[in-house]
Symmetry: C2
Subunit: 406 residues, 2 copies
Amino acid sequence: MRYIDFVDLNYRPREDDLVCDFRVEPIGISIKEAAGGVAAESSIGTWTELSTMQSYVTDLHATAFMIKKDLVKIAYPIELFENGNMPNILSSVAGNIFGLKALRNLRLEDIHLPRRIVKGFRGPKYGIPGVREILRVPERPLLGTIIKPKLGLRVQDHAVVAYNAWIGGCDIVKDDENLSSQSFNPFEDRVVKTLEMRDRAEEETGERKIYMVNVTAETEEMLRRATFVEEQGGEYVMVDILTCGWSAVQTLRDHDLNLVIHAHRAGHAAFTKNPKHGVAMRVIAKLVRVLGLDQLHIGAVLGKMSERKNEVLENCGALRDEMYGLKPVLPVASGGLHPALVPTLISIFGKDLVVQAGGGIHGHAYGTASGARAMRQALEAAMSNISLREYSRSHVELASALKTWR
Amino acid sequence: MRYIDFVDLNYRPREDDLVCDFRVEPIGISIKEAAGGVAAESSIGTWTELSTMQSYVTDLHATAFMIKKDLVKIAYPIELFENGNMPNILSSVAGNIFGLKALRNLRLEDIHLPRRIVKGFRGPKYGIPGVREILRVPERPLLGTIIKPKLGLRVQDHAVVAYNAWIGGCDIVKDDENLSSQSFNPFEDRVVKTLEMRDRAEEETGERKIYMVNVTAETEEMLRRATFVEEQGGEYVMVDILTCGWSAVQTLRDHDLNLVIHAHRAGHAAFTKNPKHGVAMRVIAKLVRVLGLDQLHIGAVLGKMSERKNEVLENCGALRDEMYGLKPVLPVASGGLHPALVPTLISIFGKDLVVQAGGGIHGHAYGTASGARAMRQALEAAMSNISLREYSRSHVELASALKTWR
C-alpha cells in the first residue's frame, strides 16, 4: 500500500474507531499524500511496498477520511491498540510521525477515544465531586497556593508557610513541581511536619485543609512515598505527569490508593506551545482524565504563562464535558496569578476551578497569611458580584494587594 | 530577587554545578532579563518579590553566566536536585520555563551533568562492548531489522518474518514500537514462538541472533513482561522511552535484569524537531546513557526522518564520548534505510552502529531473506571499501535491491 492508499474521503468512522485531528504542513508532497503518510506510519504502512504484507493485515489500516485545508482527520481501527496500555496508544498515534522529513510541521490537535478504549482505564476516583466533598466546599472556586520560594525552604519554614497560607484562607497548599526530596527538605520529614500544621490549621479555622505533597520520582519510590502519605493521614499527592511519564502515572492510579491525585504538567510547553507543531494540551487533558487523575493544571489565560483563552477553554472542556460517564477533572489555573485577576478568571472558568497563586500570595506586602486573605476576599467579591475596588474598602488585605499588583 | 538578579556574567561554574545551554527568544524583554527569568523559574525565583524568602535560600539560586546572541548558559547548584531522581531534574531544568509568556521560543540545547549527579544513576549495563560480546561481532556495524508490516501480523507470521531476516544475515530483529500485546499478536505467545525461531536461525547460521521484544506498558506490566523474556531465554527488550516516561524507564533499569535494553524514542520529534523550541535530542541521548540503557535511536541523516547530520553527530557524541567512565551506548540508525545508503551511513557514523532497515529489507523484490542478504552484502562492501556497484556484480540480492531503491 502506498501512502495515498490510506486516504478515503468517503470513509465514515465506526463507533469503535479512535479518531485523531491533525494539522499537517507537508514539504514537497500534497496534503493528501501527507495525510495518507500519517495514517500509514501510525498503522500498518511504511515508505515502501512490503513482501511481507498479508491480506488479513490490510483490514487494519488507518484512514485519513477528512481533509480541510491543513486539518486532517484520521480514523484508526481499535484492533491496532492494546487495551489499557496508554504508552502503546501514544507510540502509535503520537510517535514517529512527528519526525517525518516530508512534514515541516505536524500537530496532534485532538484525540477522540472510543468507549471501549476509555473503559480500559480507571478514570478519576474523586474528580470535582470527590474533591468538593473532602473539602466540604460545595460551590465556590477553591483557593490554592504553591509554597514559595519554590526550592530551598527547610522543612520547618516550609510547614510554617503552609500554615500561614491555610489560616489566611487557602484550601489547598501544594509543593512546587521542582521539590521532591532534596537534602534541604527531605520528603518524609516534610510530610509529617506539614500535616501536623494542617491539623492545627483545621482546628483553628474550622475548615478542611489539604496538603498536596509532590511524589515525583522513579516509579517504585513514588509509590512508596504515596503510601507513606496515606499512612500519615494525607489525602492528596501531586505528580509531575510528563517528567514521570505515562507508565508511572498509570501505575500510581492503578494502585488505587485513597489519595486525590493532582497532575502537574511541567515540561508540557516544550511540545504544546507552537501552534503548528507538537501536541495540543487538550490531548494531554483527555489522557489525564481517562487514566484517572483528579486535578490538572490547564493554563490561566491571565498571568505569566502563554496559553490563549481558546486553548484554555478547550482544556477545560476536555476535563469537564461528558465523556462516557467519567467524573470531571478539576481544572487548576496557575502561573503569575494575584487578586486583581480573580474576577476575570472566574468569568472565564466558572466556579469549578482551583485558583492557585504562589507569588500572588507569598509576595503580599504583609506576608503569606495576608496574601491568602486577599485572595479569599477577591473570591468572595467575585462570587457576590461586588467589584474588587468596592470590596477593598472594607478589606485591608485586598486593598494592599491591589496596590502591589494590577 | 528580580529576574535580572539571576544573571552574573562573571560567575564561573563550580565542579558540582549542573549546566544547561539554552537558546532564548524573548518577547518584549531583553535577552538578559529573559536569561535571568529562565534561571529564576528553574531555581528559587518567581515573577514577584516574596515575603517568604530566607537568606539561606538565596545561596541556591541558579545563575545565567554566559549570553552570546541567543545562546544562554545557566549553572544550577547541585543542591537544587534530588540525587538519583531523573523526573525531578527534568521538572527543574526543562519544566515550566517553556511556557513563559515572555519567551516566544526556548530550546534546551544541551545539558552538562556533574559527576555526582551522573553517579546517582546506574549507567549502561552492557553498552557497545556488552552488545558486541553477546553477538560475538567485534568490529563490523550490526545489522538490524524491524518486523514489517509494523502492526497486524499474527504470531506465526511474525516469527517467520523474523526467522527469514536472521537467516538472511540480520543480527537483530526488533518489534515495531507500536506493537505491544494486541489481540492479533499477544506478547507471551510472540516471545515464545519468535525465540524458538531465533534458536533455529542460530543453529542454521552459526551466528548469534537477537530478538528485541517491545515491553512498552504500564510500569508493573512492563516489568512482568521483561522478566518473562529473561525466563524464556531472551537477552534483549526494547522500550518506548518517551511514551513510557522517565520514571518507568528508571524502574526498568534499576531492576537490573540480565537484559540489554534498547531505547526507542517514539514521539521525540514533537519537541526536538523545531530548532528554535523544545529540547534537543542530544539531551535525551545523555539522559538515556546516564539512566543506563544500552541502545538508542538517534536519527539516520539519510532516509525518511528529518534530522540533519550535525544533530545526528551530536547525538552520537552524547552516546559515545567519554562521560565519567560510563559505557558507551550503541547508536541505532533507522527510518527509510536501504542498501544503497549503507556506505554513506558508515562514513557518517563509523562502525559502532546498528544499521536498521524495515521496509528496506522486507520490501526486497525477493522477500525478507534476500532483503537481509542485500543489506549484509552492502555492509561487507562498505567495510571492504568496494563500491556497491562493483560488489553487486557478484551479489544478486544487492543487485536487485539497487534496482528498487537508490
